[in-house]
Amino acid sequence: MRFERREQRSLLLLVGAPFAAIVVALALSGILIAIAGAPVLEAYRRILIGAFGSRLSATETLTRATPLMLTGLAAAVAFRARLWNIGAEGQFYLGALAVAAFGSQLLAGLPGPILIPVLLVIGALAGMVLILIPLWLRLRFSVDEVVTSLLMNFIAVLIVSMLVDGILKDPLAFGWPQSQSVADHAMLPKLVSRSRLHIGLAIAVVLAFIIAFVQSRTVFGLQSRAAGLNPQGAVFAGVPLSRTLFKVACLSGGLAGLAGAIEVMGVRGYVTTDLSPGFGYSGIVVAMLANLNPVGVIFAALFTAIMFVGADGMSRSLGIPTYIADVTVALSLLTMVVALFFTQYRVRR
């Protein structure tokens, strides 16, 4: 058996790839559900009901999708330039932490319309700071940023743990390690009343479109794509590689930091060490499922959110561990890379 490169890539295959990947991932998870002794189709039906069955569950799914869109965008912009930022989890936490630090006391005196944008920027900046360390190590010492950005995640969570149990600790939290809450007027307005859904969703969607525009129409977009596809060729064409990577890193880290900021300002109000159920890591899957397309990220994030929120409901009624959602999402990453492979190669003999 041999693989042969396809000369022309059909649009149908490219568009179909994510759907095929998701179907295969769902089928494989179905086997696991069956092994656990539950009816597979019924389980998936309940996942859908859990995700969309009521006004509440639908808004919950969208709420969950919001940070996933942002971390997905963070991964997508970085991967496009072949910057392997696997540190979105840590950047998410630092963004959240920065918002809690500045939004609860230091800047709480500012009026809402000023405070909210300022806090969002601060959150993004915090995320940027964290990714600049792996970037610097790559540019200065040629250290593979995958491992360093991963290790930064553990450091970031420990920093959060230290501060929410230290200077940022909420004295009214009955001894729980939890930060003080941000001021009420720092909280993002709701998108749908009597729900947790906030305007963070709108911010994420708008950002996805802005990034799509930036990537396809601007000098920076062209250069960062060139840098990712063929660094040597990009250098020859005069693309400033380090500077481009620096900008990409700032964008990526900023998006992940923003995700953390928005999660605090939209939902929680405070920071703990379990603020993120792996938003940073799931963002990688979201980006890959979207084939690094910013607009595709919106839909990939929705799929992922459906799995996570839906699995909660399904788990309660059928007794299947909620981890089935994580399994399915991880599997869909693997099936997606295989599906993409088959858009580029065909099997011969």
């Binding site: 190590l137 890591y281 981890y323 994580d326 399994v327 991880a330 599997l331 693997l334 890379v337």
Partner: protein, 313 residues
């Protein structure tokens, strides 16, 4: 100052070093073997998690401890085969596939664990490996306490490091592995199938990673809980670079690393006023520092992360 000396002079510290180093030795050797053949296996974190879970679960269900280790190794080998299928046969990005394997293996571990063991107030436990009494050696003063109070898998880890050094540098199969990682085209031209060699190295490497994970639940602790691997896999990847892809230095690197880890754990109890999180950060900071120091100096296998396709140059 005197407390520092007390810490360094305590046999407990040295015993802890070997205990902390053991899973790192297994994991680093596994990653090293795989990378020597040209395949980066970032699945390590998840494979270690799965090894920890499945080894523990097997023992919890009545098999003996060594069978538990074997079960973990077999499961690790299967994940290795998956990673090889994606990165060797299909030649896909080793970064992305490795992360995918990690995400899949860890979430699959938690899923299986939750299915098998219902939620309980205190996690169920097993009786782990006991320290191996070695005649004469174990009763030596200090040294007996410091070095010869380990469980059997620790000695196994050290033995495997030596065996791997021998195999890589003194046997034809070791040469084939290194050639597959340096220049798979040359290997192919000389009648060595680099695809098969890479499969073999990734599978055996993953088995070792899983055994490293199983050590956590079958010897270091006696129960399984999610996130217990805590980035040890990533640290192993850093240690491979630190070791310059040499098993002997990998052993040394793991021990050095464990020394700092054991030392900081003891320091935590005597130093006041410093948040314990600062100490917990040291392993990760050390790993990053090791990478920064060694990345340029190390002699990287030339074909690392390069997929090999027959007939394509």
């Amino acid at each position: 100052m005197s407390t520092l000396i007390d810490i360094l002079a305590s046999a407990g510290l040295w015993a802890a070093i070997l205990r902390i180093a053991t899973p790192l030795i297994f994991g680093t050797l596994g990653a090293l073997l795989s990378e020597r053949a040209g395949v980066l296996n970032l699945g390590i974190e998840g494979v270690m998690t799965f090894g920890a879970m499945i080894g523990w679960l097997a023992v919890y269900n009545g098999v003996d401890l060594w069978t538990g280790i074997l079960v973990a190794a077999c499961a690790g080998a299967l994940f290795g085969a998956l990673h090889a299928l994606l990165t060797v046969t299909l030649g896909l990005s080793q970064h992305v596939c490795g992360l995918g394997v990690t995400l899949f293996a860890s979430s699959f571990s938690y899923y299986v664990f939750r299915l098998a063991v219902p939620v309980a107030g205190t996690p169920p436990t097993i009786i782990p490996f006991q320290p191996l009494e070695i005649p004469v050696l174990s009763s030596l003063p200090f040294l007996g306490q410091a070095v010869f109070t380990q469980t059997a898998p620790t000695y196994l880890a050290i033995a495997i490091a030596l065996v791997m050094a021998y195999v890589l540098f003194r046997t034809p199969v070791g040469l084939a592995v290194r050639m597959a990682g340096e220049n798979p085209h040359a290997a192919e031209a000389q009648g060595v199938n680099p695809m098969k060699v890479r499969y073999g190295a990734v599978i055996v490497g993953s088995a070792l990673m899983a055994v490293g994970g199983a050590f956590l639940t079958l010897s270091a602790f006696n129960s399984f809980f999610p996130t217990m691997v805590q980035g040890r896999g990533w640290i192993c990847i850093a240690l491979v670079v630190f070791s310059s892809w040499r098993p002997g230095r990998a052993l040394f690197g793991a021990l050095l690393f464990a020394f700092f880890d054991a030392f900081q754990l003891r320091l935590q109890t005597v130093v006041e006023g410093v948040p314990y999180q600062i100490f917990l950060m040291t392993p990760y900071i050390l790993s990053i520092a090791a990478l920064a120091i060694m990345a340029r100096r190390a002699r990287v296998p030339q074909a690392l992360m390069q997929p090999y396709r027959r007939g394509e140059r």
